[in-house]
């Protein structure tokens, strides 16, 4: 068994599209099931690494340790869910061609421990995202895609600059050798490399001064695809960034800077959502806010906080899938994602799903978001960082304001349309809601795994 199958098989499925043009959706489901099987196969063999093509550390290295396994299984789960959820959409071959490659791009980002290889997967994931943004083929979509491409190109320029500088000064590309040699470099170069990586990945992980494009992109993207951006894409970049950061063993002031940026990002994003009148943009802002929390939690270098952040990543992905997919159903019926449209639908099922999603994102028990938030706060308390605890709670209150405004808008407005949710969608969405409830009530198993994963992440890349 090879780790490359995680990447090669979805790409293969997309390459061979002409042979099963109209059945690609089934193939995608099969591919994702196959990948889930691989993940299950590797679970008992953790942690492991694999040299690609040349059996020596000089070649590209893939690493599957606890933390990358966490992300790999999360992404496969999300993509499997996505492909099952849209299995009835017959005329959507294009989406599946791109999402398959998108999957392999995201998985490659997680698995690869070679900085240039990471750049390649970074590009694969980004380009699939550009295409997915332009998928609606109207003015709005192309406008979004163009904006995305300009900003994305800037990000890849910075990443490329960082990689080039590292290769120029160190001569190696694997994360572990870069980590070993990083502190032997000239101080200025060290700083420049870190800065380029921060800007390159910061744009993609949607961190404060670099995230002003995000809401527009989410608005332009088809709603279901926006769920993938929120649940998979930004998480993949986030992981890679911190994987590299912890491998490079950056010093405390740099981490503190990231913490501050994360907190600021959280605050500004949640504040912006307060007066927004478009539900899709509100969800985008909420994603930005949660990414801010993740950023500040992941940069703490504390096992408890990081494990909470990993838990939050899972919960946030599930919640955002739920919310965006439900919003998609609303959008199909009401032909708009504005708050007025959101207020006008009648469906007890969808309302429940929205309520559970919101409560979970807010970190309100008994839903899983609470466990994540509690773990993060507990960790900060044990570090003595009470200011951060207070700030997170205060900003969460702002978040609560707009989420409950949406709920009460729907409850107390005149209903103009009744939404009948198809059975398949109903089952799939209920599954997500149950998962959130289950994780909220019985989090221990996952928390233990997250703790292992957090330890691996903070340690940085070490070859097995």
């Amino acid at each position: 068994m090879s780790l490359v199958y995680f990447i090669a098989i979805p790409i293969l499925a997309s390459f061979l599209t002409p042979f099963y043009k109209n059945y690609l959706r089934f193939v995608s489901v099969l591919v994702n099931i196959l990948l889930a099987g691989f993940a299950a196969f590797f679970y008992s063999r953790l942690p492991l690494n694999e040299f690609i093509s040349l059996d020596s550390p000089l070649s590209i290295i893939f690493i599957l340790d606890y933390v990358s396994f966490f992300f790999v299984s999360l992404f496969i789960g999300v993509m499997l869910f996505f492909s099952l959820y849209s299995i009835k959409e017959k005329n959507n071959t294009a989406v599946f061609v791109v999402t398959n490659i998108f999957t392999s791009g995201a998985l490659g980002l997680i698995l690869s421990a070679d900085i240039f290889n990471i750049y390649i997967f970074f590009e694969i994931a980004s380009i699939s995202a550009y295409i997915l943004t332009g998928l609606n083929r109207d003015k709005v979509a192309y406008s979004g895609a163009i904006k995305y491409m300009i900003v994305g190109a800037v990000a890849s320029i910075f990443l490329l600059l960082g990689i080039m500088l590292m290769y120029l000064n160190l001569g190696y590309l694997t994360l572990s050798s870069i980590g070993a040699g990083f502190h032997t470099m000239d101080k200025g170069i060290q700083y420049l490399v870190l800065l380029s990586l921060f800007i390159g990945f910061g744009i993609k992980t949607e961190i404060l001064p670099l995230n002003f494009w995000v809401a527009d992109i989410y608005q332009a993207t088809p709603t279901k695809i926006a769920a993938l951006f929120s649940a998979v894409l930004s998480k993949a970049y986030l992981f890679v960034f911190f994987h590299i950061l912890y491998t490079l063993k950056v010093d405390a002031p740099a981490l503190l800077f990231l913490t501050a940026i994360g907190l600021l990002s959280f605050a500004v994003a949640e504040l912006s959502a307060l007066r927004s009148k478009d539900v899709k943009r509100i969800f985008a802002y909420s994603t930005l806010g949660q990414l801010g929390v993740l950023f500040l939690a992941l940069s703490s270098a504390n096992v408890v906080v990081v494990s909470g952040a990993l838990f939050l990543i899972l919960v946030h992905s599930i919640s955002k899938l739920m919310l965006f997919f439900s919003l998609d159903l609303v959008e199909k019926k009401m032909h708009s994602t504005r708050v007025e449209a959101f207020a006008g639908f009648r469906s007890a099922f969808l309302f429940t799903i929205f309520a559970i999603g919101f409560l979970s994102l807010l970190g309100i028990p008994p839903f899983a978001g609470f466990i994540a938030k509690l773990t993060i706060l507990k960790g900060f308390a044990s570090m003595g960082a009470y200011g951060i605890v207070g700030a997170i709670l205060a900003i969460s209150l702002v978040e609560a304001t707009y989420f409950f405004r949406l709920l009460s808008a729907n409850q107390r407005s005149k209903k103009t349309a009744e939404i009948k949710v198809p059975l398949l969608q109903k089952i799939m969405l209920s599954l997500l809601a149950l998962a959130i409830l289950y994780l909220g009530l019985f989090p221990q198993g996952l928390l233990d795994f997250c703790t292992d994963a957090a330890q691996t992440l903070i340690q940085g890349v070490i070859h097995v």
Partner: protein
């Protein structure tokens, strides 16, 4: 016209900012000490033993860092696919660049097979001399470009064949990699005899991969050329 009107204050400020940034960047970069031990030199040392390829760049591209190349081929495929989604095929499609010249038509008829042959040569000798899959692929595509330019709308590509080429060459790359993994080695590892340095049939898996890459690139770039040269004229819309 005053300078302010032609250039604008914002542009000047932007230029100042960027120049300042470049200056800072240069200042930092000039300080750096370039390394003399690197991955590349290590790979050079083992190149003969592990690939028997005369062109070290080819070894790196197709073998040592074959996965990067797979990713790159994927990106190429993805972009062309994305372009294909965006461009609607309709009857109003026409070649927007075309020269109606008999001389060109006849010359092209003679040149086209030669160009394709040359492209194939470049691809096949990627492991022996400068060149390889990308270069050869683009040369082949340039042959098709010539055909489009010469024959205009009367030249028709068989899209079925083209997409089959696209699919099979890409899939072939991955399947070779998987076969290598199944044969017991690493993904994209060498499973064939290496042969003797300098011979056409040498270097094991390398030429095979480069052939797939070359065909893939040729097919993709041809499609790209067709998309761009034969679109609904933007001015019509």
């Amino acid at each position: 016209m005053s300078l302010k009107k032609t250039v604008g204050l914002k542009t000047i400020l932007t230029a100042l900012l960027i120049s300042f940034m470049s200056m800072l960047l240069l200042g930092v970069i000039m300080n750096a000490a370039y390394t003399h031990t690197s991955l590349g030199y290590d790979l050079l040392k083992i190149n003969t033993i592990s690939t028997q390829s005369a062109n070290a760049v080819t070894s790196v591209v197709t073998y040592f860092r074959g996965l990067d190349t797979l990713g790159e081929v994927t990106i190429l495929f993805l972009s062309i696919f994305g372009i294909g989604i965006g461009i609607e095929r309709s009857d109003r499609m026409k070649t927007i660049l075309g020269y109606d010249s008999t001389l060109l038509k006849i010359g092209t008829k003679v040149l086209f097979p030669l160009i394709v042959l040359f492209g194939l040569y470049i691809i096949a000798h990627g492991h022996l001399s400068p060149g390889g899959g990308f270069q050869g692929g683009v040369i082949i595509a340039s042959g098709f470009l010539l055909m489009f330019l010469a024959y205009g709308d009367s030249y028709d590509l068989d899209h079925k064949v083209l997409s089959l080429f696209e699919a099979l060459s890409g899939a072939g790359f991955i399947l070779v990699g998987i076969l290598a993994a199944l044969a017991g080695g690493a993904f994209l590892g060498n499973m064939l005899p290496l042969g003797v340095l300098g011979k056409l049939f040498s270097s094991g898996i390398l030429p095979i991969i480069y052939i797939f890459v070359g065909l893939k690139v040729a097919a993709e770039i041809t499609v790209l050329v067709e998309y761009f040269i034969r679109t609904q004229d933007a001015r019509d819309a």
